[in-house]
């Protein structure tokens, strides 16, 4: 009996909270000014593992590329990242960073040297669990 209690204690102790994405919209200013940037691609999100909605856009501003999520609304989850990928399953992708917030306008820089023409999808990807939360095909 004592052994069972010990095992149960170890299992419970090993269950720690997951890192989740802030739900408060991002307020800090971004480098992207859509009035001066050129829109390259755009698409609507569809939720794959729960309700997600909004628009993903890719802009070129003075040679730098940005992904803009605006408007954007998603349910929360652990270890959410923003990927852009060449194919629907994200077999070949670039990670733009942690999802900044589950709602509101947010901007992500695309690494220099990326050929945007090759990337046709924006994903909200739960990396720790390898789950595609939401996807937008951008054209």
């Amino acid at each position: 009996m004592k052994l069972l209690i010990l095992i149960a204690f170890v299992i419970i102790a090993s269950c720690t909270p997951q890192n989740t994405t802030p739900s408060v919209p991002v307020t800090k200013p971004t480098a992207l000014d859509t009035t001066k940037a050129q829109l390259l691609k755009k698409g609507m999100f569809i939720g794959l593992d729960g309700p997600t909605s909004g628009t993903a856009s890719i802009y070129d501003q003075a040679g730098s590329k940005y992904v803009l999520l605006n408007p954007f609304e998603s349910h929360n989850g652990p270890d959410l990242k923003v990927y852009i990928s060449k194919d629907i399953n994200a077999n070949d992708y670039i990670r733009l960073g942690n999802l900044q917030a589950t709602s509101g306008r947010q901007v992500y820089s695309v690494p220099s040297g990326t050929t945007i023409a090759d990337f046709n999808y924006v994903h909200i990807w739960c990396q720790a669990y390898s789950v595609d939360f939401a996807r937008a095909e951008v054209k």
């Binding site: 052994l3 095992i7 170890v10 299992i11 090993s14 269950c15 720690t16 990927y83 399953n89 994200a90 077999n91 070949d92 992708y93 670039i94 990670r95 733009l96 690494p111 990396q127 720790a128 669990y129 390898s130």
Partner: protein, 275 residues
């Protein structure tokens, strides 16, 4: 260059340079000079241990044979191990035991990060001194597997010490064997870029030194309590390496690589049955 020295009553290992075999003339002594690499040394070592322990049984030494079942748990990870161990007891009170056995380990987990495995990449070289070196972080990429499952069968080396009539402390480690398991899709993460690709457990396992190891190898520190003559319970820690090989050499920098390793520390409990 190393020499290994055994006799039939005592098992000892002498590693030194420049030892000449004609300096050791005892009839019961087996001396071999190695000019082999580390892998061959380990295989020969195992064969010699088996040969000498066979001689030990003929001198009336005490032998314990166990069947052992162990369960290991850690965050999102688990193991089930089944082993058979033949332990030869040494010393006037038979407190020290040295054993050889076989172990089947099944590892199952969720969302585990595997990292670049070869020592040449993690440490910059393959010499035994890498155990004291820090990893070269720039060379280490990550392969995230959603549901790794690796089965391995290995020859194990076992050492234990009887602390009292009912309590034994021990250590064991897998030395050589093979692994099998299904193909898994993983997320290869290299900085900002990545790929999804398939991988299978590295088929051949061998214990060398630090990251020179290959494949999936289990080891345990444990305390065993004997409930009676036949049955014992054990509790301890398992340190397990599991390794996957990707379908292509996905890592390109600083050189091509397809082997990725996960190191797991698990709490373990088990039952032993003395045959």
């Amino acid at each position: 260059m190393s020499d290994i020295f055994f006799n039939s009553q005592k098992l000892s290992l002498i590693l030194r340079d420049g030892l000449e075999s004609d300096k050791l003339n005892q009839p019961s002594v087996l001396v071999l000079r190695f000019k082999l690499d580390m892998k061959k040394n380990l295989i020969v070592f195992t064969v010699l241990v088996l040969m000498n322990l066979q001689g030990y049984t003929q001198t009336g030494g005490h032998i314990n044979k166990y069947i052992d079942a162990t369960v290991g748990v850690a965050k999102y990870q688990g193991t089930l191990s089944l082993s058979y161990v033949n332990t030869w007891r040494f010393g006037s009170k038979q407190k020290l035991g040295i054993g050889l056995g076989g172990r089947f380990t099944s590892y199952f987990a969720a969302n585990q990060y595997y990292t670049t495995a070869p020592a040449k990449l993690t440490s910059g070289n393959t010499s035994p001194t890498i155990i004291f070196q820090d990893n070269i972080q720039a060379n280490i990429d990550t392969f995230l597997i959603k549901s790794p499952q690796v089965n391995s069968v290995n020859l194990s080396i076992n050492i234990d010490y009887r602390l009292s009539k009912k309590i034994t402390a021990g250590f064991n480690i897998d030395a050589i064997g093979f692994s099998f398991g299904g193909s898994r899709t993983g997320n290869y993460i290299n900085g900002a870029s990545g790929k999804m690709l398939n991988a299978t457990p590295t088929p051949f396992n061998i214990l060398l030194i630090s990251d020179n190891d290959k494949g999936s190898l289990n080891s345990e520190f444990y305390i065993r309590y004997f409930l009676n003559e036949k049955w014992g319970l054990k509790v301890g820690a398992q340190f397990l390496f599991t390794e996957y090989t990707t379908e292509t050499k996905v890592q390109q920098f600083p050189e091509e690589n397809d082997r990725f390793r996960n190191k797991s520390l698990l709490f373990c409990v088990g039952a032993s049955y003395k045959i």
